[in-house]
Amino acid sequence: MKKDQLKKWLEPLETAWVGVATHKLRSSLTILGIVIGVAAVISLMSIGRGAEAQIISNIEKMGSNLITIRPGSFTFGGVRGGVSETLTMEDAEAISQQVPYISAVASSYSSNLQLVMGGENTNAQVNGITPEYMQINNMKVASGASFSEQDYQRGAKVAVFGANVAKTLFGNAPPIGQQMRMGTIIVYVIGVLESKGTRFNSPDDAVYIPLAAMQQAVAQPRTPQGGRIVTAISLTVSDQSQTQNVIDAITSLLRTSHKLAASADNDFNIMSTEEIASTLSETMGTMTLLLGAIAAISLLVGGIGVMNIMLVSVLERTREIGIRKALGARERDIWLQFLIEAAFLTFAGGIIGVVLGWVVAYLVSSMGLMTTVVTADIVILAVSVSIGIGLFFGFYPAWNASRLNPIEALRAE
């Protein structure tokens, strides 16, 4: 009895397989349409997902509980609106003393300075930083040493280079111990930072010296009230769930100390990495969807191809349908046969497409073009969509076949 049940299920599958296998060229052309569609979905989605994952990991490298305050009313794509000299060292001190849930606060003053070494003459962004800066921004020294407590206090004329700047400036020569003029002072290179590999506001592209040394290299401007101006205040939150409260507290503190009218915009802006991460991954998610949608169109075209072939196949096999009906096939037997055949084709196409898409994704990332991530949900989605396409586009031809009059079908050539 159980064997009979099994047979009942296996026979339509076998029939469909024979139908597919006896028209090899046609079947493979049909499959090809689905293969390309599915491969496109898999590879494009994996590129999208890869970009998303890369951005998130970059942000995590920046420090996930980091809050950065910059002067100006609004930042987008590096363009800053409003007055640019509003944040001071005093603001940083006030924040660290008055706002709860903060584990460390650092200020930095940045300027583009000329670096003169022998006859070489280049420009780089130089950041004067306070002791907590490196730890807050998740920066580590790869070779040489970082600044000591005394370096910060005395304003020692020593510098730590970002990986890219060091490479550009010194090439293969060892950077440690090199000496150069930076603004009005001479500094020694004592260390090179680990590369972060990020492109967005990356420490790889900057040079760091103690803030006290920076004040000697360039004159740090002051506000009319005498506050020492900084270009950024960065801080870490001790309890990530409090991030929004910390941002709110800092906002009201700075608005009070900057004496802003209730109607005025903030003259600073606060960004948490969490916020940046969610904004960026949302954007990337949209991109991924868009890529997926484009690929889905090719899948749809493949589906129409399946329908086309199935219609031809039904027409060509009219006589076979007549014979099967004469042998006692019910309508259900006939449409099931053609539907399974269509689903079989698209399923095979789906599987091959997944493999091909995977290979493409692998090649793209191994050639270093882009990071790609193939996730299980994409694979499951692509395969089930391809079977769905087979069922959807196979239904009409299959239904047509099942409705044929057996006598007329038997008379067909």
Partner: protein, 222 residues
């Protein structure tokens, strides 16, 4: 076994109607071997299709094994065909891509499932055991028709209908086919209806029904 009462069949032909069968009454007993003869256009094939439940009459009643089948739905008719009727066609109607054995197995497919050993047995009965794995194109016409007969009889139906089974064969193969059919009839007590043009073949049967212009004009018992 078969009881036809006032069967008519009318086909719409554009605006006019074509009457193919007009008031056919017929009784066929279980185990009979009957030939149907008549000029072309006399409605022989239509009658055979109706008896085989491939088609429904326009009016009249058809009892197959005492069951009124003329008003059944197309799916119910399909089940009657699957259980009760084996067809043998003039043009064999084998599936060209399948082996002889697979074609025979197909005969059981919709009647409850294939069984390889039964299919082999049916092929042996028509003397084609050694051709089981050949495709129809690799077989002679007579062999193809014997495969078709094996396909019709593999599900052991009470009724076999043959529409000019020798029409596409040379006379020697034709005689072979007729002897296969008549011996199957003799051995298994199957009710067998056969359309033929050939009076010699018809005389192998127990009864001959003459059809003309959609009516039974005479019956002779042999």
């Amino acid at each position: 076994m078969i009881r036809l009462q006032d069967i008519t069949k009318v086909y719409p032909m554009g605006k006019r109607e074509l009457t193919v069968l007009s008031g056919v009454n017929l009784n066929i007993k279980k185990g009979e071997l009957v030939a149907i003869m008549g000029p072309s256009g006399s409605g022989k094939t239509t009658l055979l299709n109706l008896i085989g439940c491939l088609d429904k009459p326009t009016s009249g009643s058809y009892y197959l094994e005492d069951r009124e089948v003329s008003r059944l739905s197309s799916n119910e008719l399909a089940q009657v065909r699957a259980q009760k009727v084996g067809f043998v066609f003039q043009t064999f109607n084998l599936l060209p891509r399948l082996s002889a054995l697979a074609n025979v197995e197909l005969g059981m497919r919709y009647a409850g499932g294939s069984d390889r050993s039964q299919a082999l047995e049916a092929l042996a009965k028509v003397g084609l055991s050694d051709r089981a794995n050949h495709r129809p194109t690799e077989l002679s016409g007579g062999e193809q028709q014997r495969v078709a007969i094996a396909r019709a009889l593999v599900k052991k139906p009470p009724l076999i209908l043959a529409d000019e089974p020798t029409g596409n064969l040379d006379s020697r193969s034709g005689e072979e086919i007729i002897s296969v059919l008549t011996s199957l009839h003799a051995e298994q007590g199957i009710t067998l209806l056969m359309i033929t043009h050939d009076a010699n073949i018809a005389h192998h049967c127990q009864r001959i029904i003459h059809l003309k212009d959609g009516e039974v004009v005479s019956e002779e018992s042999i």
